[in-house]
């Protein structure tokens, strides 16, 4: 691509370089890993663990400080799970849905709020873990496994009967749905986070001050909404597997 070389202006700002698809590769026993994803995900997990320990260490009947915040989060997650899985079955799924929500939410916001780019890596750059396709696919596949597990545990082999509902000739579409669900889940999250980062990156390249602020705020907003959407959809899928087809809004 030498025809565009003339346009390649040297960027004066070290913060504003835009990189897509660079990775910091680690090799562990013949396995290839994306190091930057693990670094930020460990940061996120550490943050969650610290918050959980601080909140759960000394629980009081009248909450204060961090316990209040985490109780609010837990109550929110419980309501979400209860709404989509049902009053009777929701309790065992609260940890799974809640961890999905908290992990995605903290990841997204850490990517949007923290100046990761100040830390220089040999290759690639630190960003939200959810901006990497591996993470989102892992989360989506876990969701798929979770709803299969939920269905088989609740209804045994009778769960397979749902593939013949509402009409037997819909079998291929029902099977296809099991592939499109994780696909759409993972691509939605990945695309949204990456798009946010790209848009903010491009705007920062063009105008480094003030102007990208509204877009960054919008990014915070979409990040939170995407975490909510992922958790909601996971809960909806699990609820659907538990109680059979129908009753819940079906996502495209």
């Amino acid at each position: 691509m030498h025809m565009l070389d003339g346009l390649n202006i040297i960027n004066p700002l070290p913060l504003a370089a835009l990189e897509v698809g660079h990775h910091l590769y680690w090799r562990v026993g013949g396995l290839q890993l994306h190091g930057q994803v693990f670094l930020t995900s460990w940061f996120v997990i550490g943050l969650l663990l610290i918050a959980a320990i601080a909140a759960g260490r000394n629980v009081q009947r009248i909450p204060s400080g961090i316990q209040n915040l985490m109780e609010f989060a837990l109550e929110f997650i419980r309501n979400l799970t209860k709404e989509h899985i049902g009053e009777k079955e929701y309790r065992p799924w609260v940890p799974f849905i809640g961890t999905l929500f908290l992990f995605i939410f903290v990841s997204n916001w850490s990517g949007a709020l923290l100046p990761w780019k100040l830390i220089h890596l040999p290759a690639g750059e630190l960003a939200a873990p959810t901006g990497d396709i591996n993470t989102t696919v892992a989360l989506a596949l876990l969701t798929s496994l979770a709803y299969f597990y939920a269905g088989f545990r609740k209804r045994g082999l009778g769960y397979l009967a749902k593939y013949l509902e509402p009409q037997p000739f819909l079998l291929p579409i029902n099977i296809l749905e099991d592939f499109t669900k994780p696909l759409s889940l993972s691509f939605r999250l990945f695309g949204n986070i990456l798009a946010d980062e790209l848009v903010v990156g491009v705007l920062v390249l063009l105008v480094p001050f003030i102007v990208p602020m509204p877009v960054m705020l919008l990014g915070l907003f979409t990040s939170a909404i995407q975490a909510l959407v992922f958790a909601t959809l996971a809960a909806v899928y699990i609820g659907e597997a538990i109680e059979g087809h129908g009753g819940h809004e079906e996502e495209h």
Binding site: Q60, D132, N134, A138, L206
Partner: protein, 165 residues
């Protein structure tokens, strides 16, 4: 080999980079991340969801219990209030009857006394009247001869003594 595109400025300046790298790069990150998340779920369940969930449930229970005892107490207070009100009404009625009877008695006494006094006054007046009448009578009887004498005198004065005889 797939070239690495680097986006510099909005005009997507493209250059070839020797380093391998791509957007959809699936590798061992995926399963390890999944394991990481599962472990996180288990750890957070122990550290966070179970204890805090228990606290929430306990608090719900506590609030529900408090609410029910408060409701019971409220009902009790309500019952006491109605009882007191009933008693109050009863007492008021009683006092009313007492007042009415007392008033009636007082009126009766007053009426009796007034009548007695009036009677006594009547008697006295009648006695006085009789006295006056008696005295008038006696005065008239006492004056009768005098009137006779006086009228005879007047006649003699007017007609002369000889005519009178």
């Amino acid at each position: 080999m797939i070239p690495q595109w680097t986006l510099l400025l909005a005009t997507a300046a493209v250059e070839e980079v020797a380093e391998k790298g791509k957007l959809f790069d699936f590798d061992a990150t995926l399963p390890l991340m999944a394991i990481q998340i599962v472990v996180l779920v288990l750890v957070l369940d122990k550290l966070f969801y179970t204890p805090l969930g228990k606290v929430l449930d306990d608090r719900d229970e506590y609030i529900r219990g408090g609410l029910s005892t408060a409701k019971a107490r409220l009902a009790e207070a309500e019952a006491l209030k109605t009882q007191y009100e009933k008693e109050l009404a009863e007492t008021r009625r009683e006092s009313n009857t007492v007042i009415v009877t007392a008033k009636a008695e007082a009126k009766k006494i007053a009426d009796g006394q007034i009548a007695e006094t009036q009677q006594a006054a009547q008697v006295q007046r009648e006695q006085a009247q009789q006295e006056i009448d008696k005295q008038k009578q006696s005065a008239f009887t006492a004056l009768e001869p005098q009137i006779e004498a006086l009228s005879r005198q007047i006649l003699t004065k007017l007609l002369g003594a000889e005519l009178v005889k």
